[in-house]
Symmetry: C2
Subunit: 109 residues, 2 copies
Amino acid sequence: MSRQLTDPMIDEVRGLFSALSDTSRLKVLRTLLESKEPLSQGAVAKAAGLSQANASKHLSYLVRVGLAKRDPDGNTVYFSLVMPLVSDLCDLVCGHVSARAKTSYQALR
Amino acid sequence: MSRQLTDPMIDEVRGLFSALSDTSRLKVLRTLLESKEPLSQGAVAKAAGLSQANASKHLSYLVRVGLAKRDPDGNTVYFSLVMPLVSDLCDLVCGHVSARAKTSYQALR
DNA sequence: CAACCTCATAATCAAATGATTATTTAGATT
DNA sequence: AATCTAAATAATCATTTGATTATGAGGTTG
């Protein structure tokens, strides 16, 4: 985001972060992170508690912005995450969130 | 995002990414990144091309999720970014975006 | 204290976004 | 070929979100 953040680039960045700013899509990411192997769309939908159509749209979104990969095999389509990008984002953001949680907890005592 | 991504935590993470998924807020971040010093709200608004009320809301959003800091001095309020979190996020995401841009450009030749 | 400055807040409106239901496409199976 | 399954797409609706305009609250300066 730092150097040369041109206006068209801002739009790309916005799209990527938008992909991460929805509860359902984060649940999809969590599901795929916790699974070591690629999962079919149906498996993702079930594990994340989403309807079929909903899971399809969210997974497409993640693929479009480059956070997930699509891997069709016969009838079913397998999805997996793009690493290490996603895990890096995880570590950064989760670290920040839990650090904030800790300090705001300590502020209560 | 990886380990122990509980449901309440997902909501926090969502809030953080939502803060980054808006063009105006990204312009605010860019403005603050390019400035070495904290900037008053008015300065941010002008540099980012936002109205006063709009800048106020967006800056409050960034502060609320812990991406920016507020520093009132007399009449004016100075804002700055929380480092190194923001620059780390920048590097990660901008790297990804420009890498994708490059490969999709090469795909055209 | 009165006029002024900087920022925050409230109300309103238009636009974007996510969920649902239904339908369609493509591949597999009988 | 007919059927079944998995996934994508379309249409619709409710909700969320961002921009604008106007106003209010603090602090500063003449």
